[in-house]
């Protein structure tokens, strides 16, 4: 976050915030990690410590339906060319909406305790659930 020790004469007028430091071209084609985000932009603020549980992604079951990407309220699902890559743990608050909307069986995203090891979690992934007829 911006330095809130700044005095009234030290910032731009109009309570206006810039997204980036300097101009940006082809923003749509520039991946987030390559954008020069300004300190005012919430992209530079981590909310990782808000989480109690974290979603872990298991690509073995993912069908790249993009539901999690659409529903995530914090734009924390990382997807490129419609391929699901994983979770942005700097901005994920652990709300579990991605898990809720995941349609696969078993789910491709599941909530685990914050300290859980990713490999161990994937090793203990549940089996496909048989639906009762």
């Amino acid at each position: 976050m911006a330095d809130n020790t700044m005095g009234w004469d030290e910032f731009e007028i109009g309570a206006m915030l810039r997204s980036f430091d300097g101009p940006i071209k082809d923003i749509a084609l520039t991946p987030q990690e390559e954008r020069n985000y300004s300190p005012n932009n919430s992209f530079t603020a981590s909310v990782a410590d808000w989480r109690i549980e974290k979603p872990i992604f298991n690509k073995d079951y993912c069908i790249d339906c993009q539901f999690c990407w659409i529903y995530c309220p914090d734009v924390s699902i990382v997807s490129r060319d419609k391929k699901m890559l994983g979770v942005d743990y700097d901005h994920c608050k652990g709300c579990a909406i991605c898990v809720e909307v995941c349609p696969t069986n078993p789910k491709s995203l599941l909530m685990f305790p914050e300290q859980e090891d990713e490999e161990a979690a994937i090793a203990s992934w549940p089996e496909k659930e048989e639906k009762e007829k």
Binding site: A15, M16, L17, S19, K25, I27
Partner: protein, 408 residues
């Protein structure tokens, strides 16, 4: 750009509304977002007609209320356009919430306010209730006394407001009906002169600058809000007057018409003076001349040209040597002294000047301020000057029916 120019006569007989509409056309306003209300309606109607007839390239947005009208202006201005609208009275009152947004966001919107009384009781005629309602909103407020000035001050308002050192919205006030619907000779600028004076709109942090994305309308709490308001106040206190002076000088070079932040008429040797806004200033000037010729009273008039920022130092200079001042307020103070009285008292209280100050409430809901009223006021001020203290109550109502109304 694709629009036709208009040939104007050197002098056109225009009312204040049409003069303002012509000014909006000549500076090629990009967006007018409006909800028309009497008596300001012909201004936005005029712009819409110029647009329909191909004399201006822009957008006219019809919205569902004055709140939405100013909101539309704010959006268009933040997007990076030259923006203006007009309103009066109840419409102005509904706009108030968004006025603070516009000034806080430092958007140089021009609002033509055709001054009209505030209900109840409902009244379409001119007084300064709406102008006074806007005085803490962070806007620059220019005041015109006749149609010529309503025309001229629009150009000056755009030039000052859009300056990147200023970037504040500005109101151009004119008296409902007394200016807005009174046709008088208006010396015109050609389309090229007018546009050249104001210049091309220079956007700042506009939302349509896609290479430099910005967020407008942010939330701040106690950690930032005070600093932003302080910055806005600082700019109003220190940056606006020099820019207005510059614009007035440039306008005089172009047209020969000289405006001043505080207009002084016969104040050099004046013993008594009234301080007023709007058309009353001019009527008072005529009466002051007659007082000098017929009564031997050295009368003067101080007209407030810029009501906000409040020209504290300019008025302190203007009142030097004057022994009795009458503050003429055309708005019901509803349980206090009039605004001009209070502001003048604020100037006098720490000054070496010892003018006797009294307050006159007049003209509510368009009630005529006659020359006879003004003569009486000047005579009372003369008596105050001679006595060195008030000879009347501090606050008097002028031109109201019924038993005399005076307080304190």
């Amino acid at each position: 750009m694709a629009f036709d120019k208009m040939e104007l006569n050197e002098i056109e007989v225009w009312d204040g509304n049409f003069a303002a509409a012509q000014a909006l056309r000549q500076v090629q306003v990009d967006v007018v977002s409006a909800y028309p209300i009497t008596p300001s309606t012909p201004i936005v109607e005029g712009y819409a007609k110029f647009l329909a007839d191909g004399y201006v390239e822009g957008e006219f947005m019809m919205v569902e209320s004055e709140h939405a009208a100013m909101s539309g202006c704010i959006g268009a201005s933040a997007a990076g356009g030259r923006v203006a609208t007009a309103t009066s009275s109840q419409g102005f009152a509904l706009m108030v919430e968004t006025l603070y947004q516009a000034s806080g966001m430092r958007l140089p919107i021009i609002l033509n306010v055709v001054n009209r009384a505030l209900a109840a009781p409902l009244n379409v005629n001119g007084d300064h209730s709406d102008m006074y309602l806007g005085r803490d909103s962070g806007w620059i407020q220019f005041d015109s006394y006749n149609p010529q000035q309503a025309y001229d001050l629009n150009f000056i308002a755009f030039k000052v407001a859009e300056d990147h050192e200023v970037r504040l919205p500005a109101m151009v006030h004119q008296d409902g009906f007394m200016t807005s619907h009174t046709a008088q000779g208006v010396k015109t600028l050609s389309d090229d002169e007018a546009y050249g004076f104001v210049g091309e709109f220079k956007p700042m942090n506009d939302m349509l600058d896609l290479e430099n994305p910005v967020t407008h309308g942010v939330q701040t709490e106690e950690d930032w809000h005070f600093e932003h308001k302080a910055r806005q106040h600082h700019d109003l206190m220190t940056k606006v007057f020099p820019k207005i002076e510059e614009a007035f000088d440039a306008f005089e070079k172009l047209t020969g018409r000289k405006y001043n932040i505080v207009e002084e008429y016969m104040t050099d040797d004046a013993e008594v003076a009234v301080v007023a806004l709007g058309t009353s200033v001019e009527t008072a000037v005529e009466v002051a001349k007659e007082m000098r010729e017929q009564e031997g009273i050295k009368a003067g008039v101080i007209g407030i040209r810029v009501f906000r920022p409040w020209p504290f130092e300019y008025i302190a200079e203007a009142i030097k040597g004057i022994k009795a001042l009458g503050a003429l307020d055309r708005s019901s103070p509803n349980g206090a002294m009039g605004a001009l009285y209070n502001e003048l008292a604020g100037i006098l209280v720490n000054s070496d000047e010892k003018a006797v100050l009294t307050n006159y409430i007049y003209g509510l809901g368009g009630r005529d301020l006659t020359k006879a009223h003004l003569k009486e006021i000047f005579k009372e001020l003369k008596a105050n000057a001679d006595a060195g203290k008030p000879t009347t109550e501090l606050q008097q109502f002028i031109g109201v029916r019924g038993p005399k109304l005076a307080y304190l």
